[in-house]
């Protein structure tokens, strides 16, 4: 298992290389750069200043050289300096990752706590009126775009009855609030994500449980006189959770990279929000760092999915 994990980790390197090369060259192919976005166009002698700043930041070098310098710096743990926020990228991203981690964990917790029990509940009474009703409601919830939920949640729970803060998750600086305060700000965005995303789990859970419930060993368990709740808990659900675990890995990878739209809507200062700001400021070092972190999250998410698969399904063994 350990050998397998190490091999998978090394296997990520070519993919990360390809992604960073792609983003780096695409970004620099566009007209204009961070310097232009930064300096006041009415400054006297703008061309000379621009040239001086470009030389200082190495933006006049050939692109491959620039990429090489970026890569060497990143391997030394230096993600560069944010042109837009005027601070080291790492200090900008640290708190943003912390916020995104809180949002991701909270959202995933809501998704699982809603989706799986609903799926189990449906699987206990399949093809009944209640089952069909819940399925239809899930289908509708699945179709509602999460940003629509977000807007309505903001309207009802932040404006109409101002229970939750609508915006401005506690700043990302060292003076930011306590963990509880962060969680408080993440609640509404997390709910808006979970309201649509949980339906994937309820559907998977229901389907997988019904598949497993047809198996011979379930009939055997029933014939032995084991009580229904125990059959469902110990025999059916234990095997039905295998496909769920795969989905969990994908989800975590995606959520950790930052729920871009949700964070933008709630001005929630996580990775997604930082990325949006960086894109509008053409803040290359930040965009490169967030892209890299996102790709790592997705790849790690896939790896976690495979590992969890082996944990819940003893038939799967990695050599």
């Amino acid at each position: 298992m350990a050998g397998y994990v190490v091999r998978r980790l090394f296997g990520m390197i070519p993919m990360l290389f390809a992604i960073t090369v792609f983003v780096f060259f695409m970004m620099h192919m566009a007209p204009g750069n961070a310097i232009e976005a930064m300096i006041n166009p009415r400054i006297k002698d703008i061309a000379a200043l621009k040239h001086q700043l470009e030389v200082q930041n190495g933006l006049n070098l050939p692109l491959p050289v620039q990429y090489w310098r970026w890569l060497v710096n990143v391997l030394h743990g230096n993600f560069g300096w944010s042109f837009g926020q005027h601070e080291p990228v790492i200090e900008l991203l640290g708190p943003a990752m912390y916020n995104t981690l809180i949002l991701a964990v909270l959202a995933e917790a809501f998704i699982l706590l809603l989706g799986i029990p609903i799926g189990i509940w449906q699987a206990r009474r399949p093809y009944s009126k209640l089952d069909y009703t819940v399925s239809t409601v899930s289908f509708v919830l699945f179709s509602v775009p999460f940003f629509v939920f977000a807007v309505f949640l903001i309207y009802f729970f932040a404006i109409r009855w101002p229970v939750f803060p609508a915006q401005n998750a506690t700043g990302t600086g060292p003076l930011a609030g306590t963990l509880l305060d962060h969680v408080w700000h993440a609640l509404l965005p997390a709910i808006s994500i979970a309201l649509t995303a949980h339906t994937v789990y309820s559907r998977y859970t229901r389907g997988a449980m019904l598949d497993v419930a047809r198996q011979d060993y379930v009939r055997t368990a029933r014939a032995k006189g084991i009580r229904e709740p125990v059959i469902y808990r110990k025999h059916v659900f234990r095997n039905a959770r295998i496909p769920l675990v795969t989905q969990l890995g994908f989800d975590l990878g995606g959520l950790l990279g930052g729920a871009v739209i949700t964070e933008g809507l709630f001005s929630y200062q996580g990775m997604g929000y930082v990325t949006i700001t960086a894109v509008s400021q053409r803040d290359y070092p930040v965009i490169m760092a967030t892209t890299l972190i996102f790709a790592v999250c997705v790849l790690l998410g896939n790896l976690v999915a495979d590992i969890l698969n082996a944990v819940v399904d003893p038939r799967i063994r990695y050599q």
Binding site: F22, M27, P145, F147, V260, G264, L265, T291
Partner: protein
């Protein structure tokens, strides 16, 4: 002779009855299955209404959805402005009605684009296998490891999209991997079947087998996938617009209308500004998803009870 007549007649009647059932074409059977999905049928009607309203926008309102009128800003609903006006004096009803054109255009065109790319790439990967498959699947993996929305935002900032067609291209060229994978796996399983072997032994080339044999055989799942893809793409476009990365903010689209009313004042005091576009996006996506569900039933012969 006389004795045997009734059974024969009964048999004949029986046969003609059976033939009456059998003589339904596959299309008619599929249509019947679709019609039994009540929500799907209702969705077709609702969606047709939405499409019709967006197409007939100029006849439904005389207001220009992009002309500002600073003499009448932030008006509440009235007989002249059914849904009031925004902060620039543009009629909300006109923005909503015209907005559907952009959303539906992007959804429809991008679906076609994604399906075209996916059928070619997925078809080649599934038909040839081997290194062709390996290369195409690596590109898919590569695309999957980008966040879809993030990739669009980065691409947009790079090529500075302000035109609808550039946005369509950007969305289209980022959204194809999942469908490509699905078509590849369909073709992978179908290419081992007898009818493909028969086509190959009678000398059919790769393109002919892909487009004339494999594609029609997997039409059902592809059409269902395209429908669901369209719902996704409309949602993605609106989501981008909502955070300000969609079409130009002066172009009326549902996402843009929603985006422009996302301030405390508008949200709290002018529900007529943001509720209609939010509902229009939701209803459109819901209808398309229901139609997809109905098509899934229609293409599934086992669904006939």
């Amino acid at each position: 002779m006389v004795m045997s007549t009734p059974p024969v007649e009964a048999l004949a009647a029986n046969q003609s009855a059976a033939r009456g059932r059998v003589s339904k074409s596959p299309f008619q059977l599929a249509l019947g299955r679709f019609m039994r999905h009540r929500m799907a049928v209702a969705s077709v009607l609702v969606l047709a209404l939405i499409v019709l309203v967006s197409l007939c926008a100029p006849w439904l309102t005389h207001w220009d959805p992009s002309r500002q009128d600073l003499n009448s800003v932030s008006l509440p609903p009235s007989a002249a402005h059914w849904l009031g006006t925004d902060a620039n004096g543009i009629d909300y009803f006109a923005r909503d009605v015209y907005g559907g054109r952009i959303d539906l255009l992007i959804g429809f065109t991008d679906t076609l684009l994604v399906m075209a790319i996916s059928i070619v790439l997925g078809g080649l990967a599934g038909y040839y296998g081997g290194w062709v498959d390996a290369v195409i699947m690596r590109v898919c993996d590569f695309m999957f490891n980008f966040p879809f929305i993030l990739l669009i935002i980065v691409l947009e900032s790079i090529i500075n999209t302000s035109s609808v067609w550039l946005l369509i291209a950007v969305i289209g060229f980022t959204a194809w991997p999942s469908t490509t994978r699905m078509i590849r796996s369909l073709f992978l399983s179908l290419r081992e079947s007898e009818f493909v072997l028969a086509a190959r032994t009678s000398g059919a080339g790769a393109w002919r087998i892909i487009f004339r044999h494999l594609l029609p055989a997997s039409l059902g799942p592809i059409v269902v996938n395209a429908t669901l893809q369209m719902a996704n793409l409309i949602g993605a476009e609106a989501a981008l617009a909502v955070i300000g990365f969609g079409v130009k903010s002066t172009t009326p689209s549902w996402g843009n209308v929603l985006n422009s009313s996302l301030d405390y004042f508008t949200l709290s005091t002018e529900p007529w500004a943001w509720v209609p576009p939010a509902l229009l996006i939701t209803v459109t996506i819901l209808c398309i998803n229901f139609i997809g569900d109905g098509l899934r039933d229609a293409f599934d012969p086992a669904f006939d009870k």
